[in-house]
């Protein structure tokens, strides 16, 4: 069986079969470097829109983590906001009660997200399909209800505010224009993207992809399916927790909307729009959707939903791959 069809790289010549031990893919650092270059360029070109840039980077990181669960592991989830929000609240409470250092808060957010994913995944991954999907919704809503009840810790419906975030690396204070915030978010995004790429291109990642494609066959091959999925789910939870922590720190506020069903649904929409499974699709979907939302909403907030609804329906009916193919055939026929 030709396994290279599931990987990103083109088919390799037989002479390179001696490297068969490692999967053949593009080097893991290439895509993150492209993201870094584009992100830095965008920040340089639009110095007055750095708040928007930061929001885009955080959304991209969140959708990236969702891609690990939905695209790579094949587990459709509508409860991913739970790990995002947990990371956000953890980082916010840490900044409020313990210390305002952003990197320590980021670590706390990563840990909190990963732990919640591990705990909930242990329960959730016993189920599949529609049952799994609905249970993810239940878990997310339970976390939301608990956050609402624990008003003393989370601020409830008013949100967690009043914490200040200290200077990054002890030196770069978060400024009003958002320069430090934007580069901080971009750096974390690039780093996590690299980690995700390494994860997906590793034998572990291949095993998870295999489980996505055919669970029974992988089990027959002796892969501990449950353990692999749990590990991927926890890794995705950690990355989403990082995104949440970034959101808490750059906004200096955490609201209950970071745990909401609407956020999970929006992230899933962004992912499917950009194309699930390749990691780059997650980034593209997040960028396009957020920019579109921002532009359409500022022109006329009422009619933004027309635009996005129409776009979603169009993307499904006329999938971009087919459209591009049709275009190529037209151009090819003309020449």
């Amino acid at each position: 069986m030709n396994t290279s069809t599931t990987l990103q790289g083109p088919a390799k010549a037989p002479s390179e079969a001696r490297h068969a031990a490692a999967p053949r893919c593009r080097p893991a650092w290439r895509a993150p470097l492209v993201v870094l270059a584009l992100g830095a360029l965008a920040c340089a070109l639009l110095p007055e829109q750095l708040g928007l840039m930061t929001r885009i980077f955080i959304a991209a990181l969140f959708v990236l983590s969702l891609d690990l669960v939905v695209g790579v592991a094949g587990l459709a989830t509508l409860g991913h906001a739970a790990v995002f929000g947990t990371g956000a609240y953890a980082a916010g409470i840490f900044a409020l009660k313990v210390m305002p250092d952003p990197l320590a808060g980021l670590a706390i957010g990563i840990g909190a997200g990963g732990l919640l994913a591990l705990a909930s995944g242990a329960f959730l991954l016993r189920y599949q399909g529609f049952t799994f999907l609905m249970l993810t919704v239940a878990v997310a809503q339970i976390v939301l209800s608990l956050a609402q009840k624990a008003r003393d810790w989370t601020g409830g419906d008013d949100g967690l505010s009043g914490f200040t975030v200290g200077p990054l690396l002890g030196h770069f204070a978060f400024d009003l224009e958002g320069r430090v915030a934007a580069f901080y978010a971009l750096a974390v995004l690039v780093l996590m993207h690299y980690v995700a790429r390494r994860l997906v291109d590793s034998p572990f990642g291949l095993a998870v992809r295999g489980i996505h494609e055919n669970r029974a066959r992988m089990a027959a091959l002796g892969t501990p399916v449950y353990r692999r999925l749990l590990a991927m789910y926890a890794a995705a939870g950690a990355i989403a927790g990082a995104a949440g922590a970034l959101s808490a720190q750059t906004n200096a506020i955490v609201g209950l909307d970071s745990l909401s069903f609407a956020l999970s649904a929006e992230a899933l929409v962004m992912l499917i729009l950009g194309g699930a499974g390749r990691l780059s699709g997650a980034l593209v979907g997040a960028v396009v959707f957020t920019l579109l939302h921002h532009t359409a909403a500022s022109i006329n907030p009422y009619h933004w939903l027309f635009v996005v609804g129409f776009m979603l329906m169009a993307v499904v009916l006329v999938s971009p791959a087919k459209a591009w193919g049709w275009l190529r055939r037209r151009v090819g026929a003309a020449s």
């Binding site: 459709a76 239940a138 339970i142 009840k149 009422y302 996005v308």
Partner: protein
């Protein structure tokens, strides 16, 4: 005690509304394997049509409600014929994306046509009053809801189990190729089922307008609740949806009476527990 009676009555009414809206989705999901996340949008359309007919066009309530239901069914049939049937073969995520897009579109259209305010459906004098049950007064509309819910359950079960259409439906779901070679008009069955589901959703939207106010975001706001009922009750099972809706409705109402500052926690805990216990549906073994 009074509290228990109150919980039972209010919970039953709430559960019935959920049932009527959810049963259409359960049938569409279970029998047609089509993930239709725009189901609540049809409920919204039904409610808005009824509100418009009674308020603006000054129709009689008892005429406006069937007319609104038929209009919703027609919308469902048209959408099914034009667009949705192309999606039956597609991946689930594609269906999710498309129907969410459709929901957004319908929300924006409703907002543009009717504005963002809550729409009230003025009840006829018979329904607007309250009924004195001795230990409490109950709005008459709630009694209608409970009655209508039971009627829908009975009607839907009878149609699926006892009529020719029901036989066609079950055959088409089991194996559409064989069914069509036996002469069953598959396209008609699919279109009619979808339209029926939309009609039920519209009816639920009208019945529930007191409990779940009609405003443009209705289509997404209550989607989670409806999906929960469908999941717990089991896709395609009418009795399961009824049982799930009533159980969950009673639990949600009980938490409002007894522990309202915990929000919907118990509802979702119950849902998770029930789903974990019976992943294929409450009444399926």
């Amino acid at each position: 005690m009074t509290v228990l009676f109150n919980i039972a009555v209010d919970g039953l009414a709430y559960g019935m509304v959920l049932f009527v809206i959810a049963v259409g989705l359960s049938l569409t999901l279970g029998l047609m394997r089509f993930v239709n996340l725009s189901h609540c949008a049809f409920a919204m359309v039904g409610g808005y049509c009824a509100a418009f007919l009674v308020r603006q066009a000054q129709w009689n309530f008892w005429l406006a409600v069937p007319a609104a239901i038929i209009a919703t069914a027609a919308l469902g049939a048209v959408l099914e014929m034009l667009v949705l049937r192309h999606l039956y073969r597609r991946k689930e995520l594609d269906q999710v994306l498309f129907t969410i897009g459709l929901s957004f579109f319908l929300i924006a259209a409703t907002n543009a046509l009717a504005g963002p305010q809550v729409q009230l459906i003025p009840l006829p004098p018979g329904l607007a009053g309250s009924v004195d049950l001795g230990f409490r007064t109950l709005p008459a509309q709630r009694l209608l809801v409970i009655g209508a819910g039971l009627a829908v359950a009975a009607g839907a079960a009878w149609i699926v189990a006892r009529t020719r259409f029901g036989v066609w439906l079950r055959a088409a779901v089991d194996h559409s190729g064989t069914a069509s070679s036996l002469g069953i008009p598959i396209r008609v069955v699919q279109c009619a089922s979808f339209a029926a589901g939309a009609a039920l959703a519209g009816f639920g939207g009208i019945l529930g307008a007191e409990l779940m106010p009609l405003e443009p975001y209705y289509a997404l706001k209550y989607l989670v609740l409806v999906l929960v009922v469908v999941a717990v009750g089991g896709m395609g099972s009418i009795a399961g949806s009824l049982a799930a809706a009533v159980v969950l409705g009673v639990i949600e109402t009980a938490s409002k009476y007894l522990a309202s500052d915990w929000g919907s926690l118990f509802f979702f805990l119950a849902m998770a527990a029930l789903l974990a216990w019976r992943p294929d549906g409450l009444l399926k073994r």
